[in-house]
């Protein structure tokens, strides 16, 4: 435990040094978002030490979520979640090309962690109590939330109050559909999927599409000339966490330390600007870490 504390201290020193460096180098603007690999040493028996020794980490992410985790033409996923994964791997002393990326979808994230098929899951993974019974969450590292997607030339809608009494498309029976109807008085046009909402929006049969800003930002990324987010602000909060084995408290605490470090040394901002920041221009603050 003593070694652990001193390591944390030395990390703090390192972090402030990096901060000072980045401040002095302000305006330089590096193109690479991947942080340098740290030469780290860890306490014996910890997951960090095991991964560092193996020089290999398996991270589950989405392969189909633009801006967060999307598989590119070279077979490697790109996005904000992926950048977070690379940054954590770098702190473990593992270079980005040693990371094995595994596709996790919403239905298999818990089981992949429980079976040990992945070391971490960073996949637009909302923290909730039901999931906490099966896995542990480091973070949150980002707070997503409900937002509105509108036509690019429509400046009349900037906040949810603006859609009162107007037609808004969302998935039948989904939570965002209920929120926009019950809290903001919109007339919900029910669709089977969110992509099905895009055509009515294009045809101006509805004024907006509503769901998580992350999903909507993906549509803007694909068609920046057709759509935009009504606002960078969200009107609900969905904390995204990094999923790992339920009983691995040491690893969880360590990742939380790293996340706070990323916020301080600018890694977080850089990762955001290179990925999701292309659509959601306002760089978010790292939410308060929940150490439970």
């Amino acid at each position: 435990m003593k070694a652990f504390i001193t390591r944390r201290k030395s990390l703090l020193v390192a972090a402030s040094a990096v901060l000072a460096l980045s401040l002095s180098a302000c305006g330089g603007g590096g193109s690479s978002t991947t942080p340098p690999v740290a030469s780290a040493s860890f306490d014996a028996g910890t997951t960090m030490e095991k991964l560092n020794k193996a020089q290999k980490i398996t991270i589950g992410t989405k392969f189909d979520q633009p801006l967060f985790g999307q598989k590119g033409l070279d077979g490697k996923p790109v996005g904000f979640d992926v950048e977070m994964g690379k940054a954590i791997a770098a702190k473990l002393g593992i270079p980005a090309d040693k990371i094995e990326w595994v596709e996790t979808v919403s239905q298999n994230r818990e089981s992949f962690i429980e079976q040990g098929r992945v070391d971490l899951v960073i996949a637009t993974y909302t923290i909730n109590d039901a999931r906490k019974e099966k896995v542990a969450f480091a973070g949150p590292y980002y707070e997503a939330g409900q937002a509105l997607l509108v036509n690019k030339d429509d400046n009349s809608i900037t906040k949810p109050e603006d859609v009162k009494g107007k037609k808004v498309c969302s998935v039948t029976g989904s939570t965002p559909a209920k929120t926009i109807a019950e809290k903001y008085g919109a007339e919900v046009v029910p669709a089977a999927t969110y992509t099905a909402c895009l055509e009515p929006l294009r045809n101006k049969q509805v004024v907006a599409v509503t769901t998580d800003n992350v999903i909507l930002a993906g549509y803007v990324d694909k068609e920046p000339d057709a759509f935009k987010l009504a606002s960078d602000q969200t009107f609900t909060k969905e904390p995204y966490g990094i999923g790992l084995k339920k009983d691995d408290t040491v690893f969880r605490g360590w990742i939380n330390d790293q996340l706070e470090g990323f916020a301080k040394d600018g890694t977080y901002k850089k990762a955001w600007e290179a990925t999701a920041g292309k659509v959601i221009k306002t760089t978010p603050e790292l939410p308060a870490i929940n150490r439970y």
Partner: protein
Amino acid sequence: MDAVIASLPQYWDGFLRTLYLSVISGIIALIVGTILAAMRVSPVAALRGFSTFYVEVARNTPLTIIFFFAAIVLPRLGVKFEQFEVAAIIALSSYTAAFIAEAVRSGVNSVPVGQAEAARSIGMTFIQVLGFIVLPQAVRTVIPPLINILIALVKNSSVAGAFFVLELFGYGRQLSNDYGDQVLWILLGVAFFYLLITVPLGLLAHFVERKVAIAR
């Protein structure tokens, strides 16, 4: 089961919308279908050609694709409507009309050709022959297949649930989202409300068939 009872208001709303879609589309389809059948047996080649083309295209295209055209392609071409129900009615009636046309045509063909010839010989026009002599006889033989088509129409209206119309099936999906643990009951409830429309239709078919059956 309690989920179904708790959701009765939604079921009722969905039921009324399904009924509304079916009745309006059914009436339009019957009218358009009969006109198409008349064109199909008319002496004008262009009308026959058009009708044949329409029927073959409409009944051989999956309904979902017709819905897609009505709900999404038409608005892009400038045909705007306030409610998505309009798109559903356009899609359902244009699809069903093709089947009705075929049923009515087969009924017309079942009327002995001598009937039409006799009518022509006393100077009736084509419209008169069809309206007074052939169709009244044809209708009796086509009532059972027509009701079959209408039953199919009621069930086909569930496709509208995927195209922004909150009818029975749309509510079924919404409710299964709300009561994830009772999906089976929710869907059985949906099926029950469909049966509430289709079973009486089937009984009606049986009754009418016995009533108007004629010995040939």
